[in-house]
């Protein structure tokens, strides 16, 4: 039971680390494309790690109902497909409209 708690804590800590790093990248990067680069990967992996840790918690603590976290497994699958697709659609929209990429020496925008 204790080893399960340790595994769940490690998964949650990894997910929170990636989530906070994605938010800091969204604040700190100077451009639209670099902000999408920061958030498109960190957010997907962070949410996936948090949901995986929660699935492991359910399998250790509520072992009588093993069919409830199947929904969360579907949610992880959906996020890993849908979130990069949404990021790609946004980046393509910005490129078609004509958002200029940031170069060294430019002003932050």
């Amino acid at each position: 039971m204790v080893i399960g708690d340790v595994i769940v804590t490690l998964f949650l800590a990894g997910g929170l680390f990636f989530t906070l790093v994605g938010s800091i990248g969204l604040l700190r990067f100077p451009d639209f494309y670099t902000r999408l680069h920061a958030t498109g990967k960190c957010d997907t992996l962070g949410t996936g790690l948090i949901l995986t840790g929660v699935i492991i918690y359910h399998l250790f603590h509520y072992s009588g109902t093993p069919l409830v976290p199947v929904r969360l497994a579907f949610l992880v699958f959906f996020i890993f497909i849908a979130n990069p697709a949404a990021t790609h659609a946004l980046m393509k929209a910005g490129y078609e409209v004509g958002v200029k990429p940031w170069k060294l020496g430019d002003e932050r925008r």
């Binding site: 989530t19 969204l26 604040l27 959906f78 929209a93």
Partner: protein, 88 residues
């Protein structure tokens, strides 16, 4: 063990507030759309953690619905920004 979900929820809410800065003052409509998409993705994890903290598995259905609505909304908004119209 149940209190780690509370701490994780508080840290996710802190990350959401960090993203909310970019959603309110971020220059241009593209930065705001990115921030809204990021907030929606973080809210999925927050809903699942709240569902385990209060021991109510109804929140998982809300998280599934929220993921689908966030994805469809971002796609529709990107298409609108790209073409200027939705149906053509």
């Amino acid at each position: 063990m149940i209190s780690i979900f509370l701490i994780s929820s508080m840290l996710i809410i802190f990350a959401i507030f960090l993203s909310l800065y970019r959603a309110t003052v971020g220059p241009g409509v593209f930065n705001r759309t990115v921030a809204v998409n990021v907030i929606g993705t973080k809210t999925i994890g927050l809903l699942v953690l709240i569902g385990y903290y209060t021991e109510r598995p109804e929140f998982f259905d809300i998280a599934l619905l929220y993921a689908m609505l966030n994805f469809i909304g971002t796609l529709v908004f990107a298409r609108y920004l790209e073409r200027g119209e939705l149906w053509s």
